[in-house]
């Protein structure tokens, strides 16, 4: 196990997340892309903590913050999706963009 391996894993997960977030039409699926990107951040942060500065707890605290951020993102995402859906029966990003006009 080396830092590089973990970072490669994180890079792969992040790239998949980017693909999802850019290519999906549905708001909920875009959120899943974002989740995968956060997932990659978790891996990278844990690896940095373990391989670079294990003595300081800051890395672990950062992880906690990331996990909380993920739940916040999720809750707000659901709320916005519900709002959009209620407003105009839409769950697609393209259609939501059209709403603005």
């Amino acid at each position: 196990m080396t830092l590089q391996l973990f970072l490669l894993l994180a890079a792969a997960l992040f790239a998949i997340g980017v693909f999802g977030a850019l290519s999906q039409q549905s708001v909920v699926m875009v959120m899943m892309g974002l989740e995968l990107m956060v997932n990659a951040v978790i891996v990278a942060a844990a690896a940095f903590w373990y391989f670079l500065a294990p003595a300081a707890p800051d890395g672990q605290v950062l992880l906690l913050v990331v996990i909380s951020a993920m739940t916040v993102e999720m809750a707000m995402g659901f709320a916005v999706a519900t709002l959009l859906f209620r407003a105009s029966d839409v769950d697609m990003t393209d259609m939501a963009a059209e709403l603005k006009r």
Partner: protein, 445 residues
Amino acid sequence: MGLRTSAQRLLAGWAARRPHVLLVTAPGGTAARLAVEAQARALGGVLTGEPADADVLVVAGSPDGELADAVGVLWSQIPAPKVRVDVLDSARAAALLSAGIHRLASTPDAGAESTEQVEPMGEHVHQQEAEMGHEHGGDGGHGHGGHTDAEQGGHEHGGHDHGGMQMPGGLMMADRAPDRDGLKLDVLHVALGPVLPAWPSGLVIDVELQGDVVQGAEVRVLAGAGDAMRFWADGTGVAAGRRRAAAHLDSVGRLLEVAGWSGAADRARGQRDVLLTETGEPVGEAREELRRLRRRVERSWGLRRSLAGLGRLGHGDVSRLGLSGPAARAAERGGDVWARLQTWLVEADLALSSGPVAPAEGPRGRPGRGSDALVAAAAHLMPGLDLGDARLVVASLDPDPDDLHSTGVAGDRDPHSGHGENGHHDEGPHGMPGGTNHQHDGHVA
């Protein structure tokens, strides 16, 4: 299938010690039903409501028309090895059921003719065991009607839809309509009945579901064969008071079963059987038993919490819907499901001590009208309730299909419609953040 080893025989023998009986009552089959229920219990079996879980299908009475088709669908949904028993005469119920279970034990798959039908998106393997126990000889062809996409057939969980998009597997995409939270969600059309656990068999309520919330309800009654005897109302045998008490206990048992309290439901059914059979049992003892049951039920905080305030029918509703019988008198106690349960228990006690409360009426109210009004009340109350609550409401009204059929209204009347309520309810929080009132889409068989 050449592996008919002794081990398999051994397993079959053990399996038959705990037969799971799926009981379907056709109009006029109430006496046979009671006999089968008692015998199944005595044999160590268990009554089940699900074809997936059954190995013995017992048909009490003789279904015809749509109900016969539904029984055929049920039979096709029971996985082999399975046995079908038709009981017409209550006196022979015990013997027929025992013979059926014996058959199940002795021939794990002897003579099994297996029919395989592979359908586009799902396979259905029917392996059929010996069918037996016909009282009415010539009728060999019980509907083994394959897999009809029937909306009847209680367990086909029908999802037919109006003008939806065709999807693979012959499924339809669901319609959508606004739900009570202002979200436009899918509507499923599901038929409750004619066969469900603790359900008046033969009654069908077509409901529109959004998630598990009923948005509309229409009632149909599947006609039975000939003029069914209305067992509870004008049966003969034991005294009128005992019969009335037994009828109410039958309803109580069904309601408690739906409420998920099978122990108490079983007690109510046990007392019902005692009242109907042992004419010699002193009234005092029967009343003492009944009072114990009533205390038990009324003291249950959980039950009260579940039932109180649900399905309320005030005095206005009673007169508008033409209700009579216990359901009407329950308006004095508040008119909810809890009040109707109490009324049954109180009136059963009164019936034992001094005869039926209203001797001119049947247990469901005015002769020929009682169950009709009950069905109308159910259709009126159901929209806006979630499915579990709707089941409780129906069970608390407990219309008697025999009663409906013999009035002649059942076959060709307009369905009582709950649509007047229409699909939009803003009746306030259901108390469930993100819980059950959610949807799914087109994914329904």
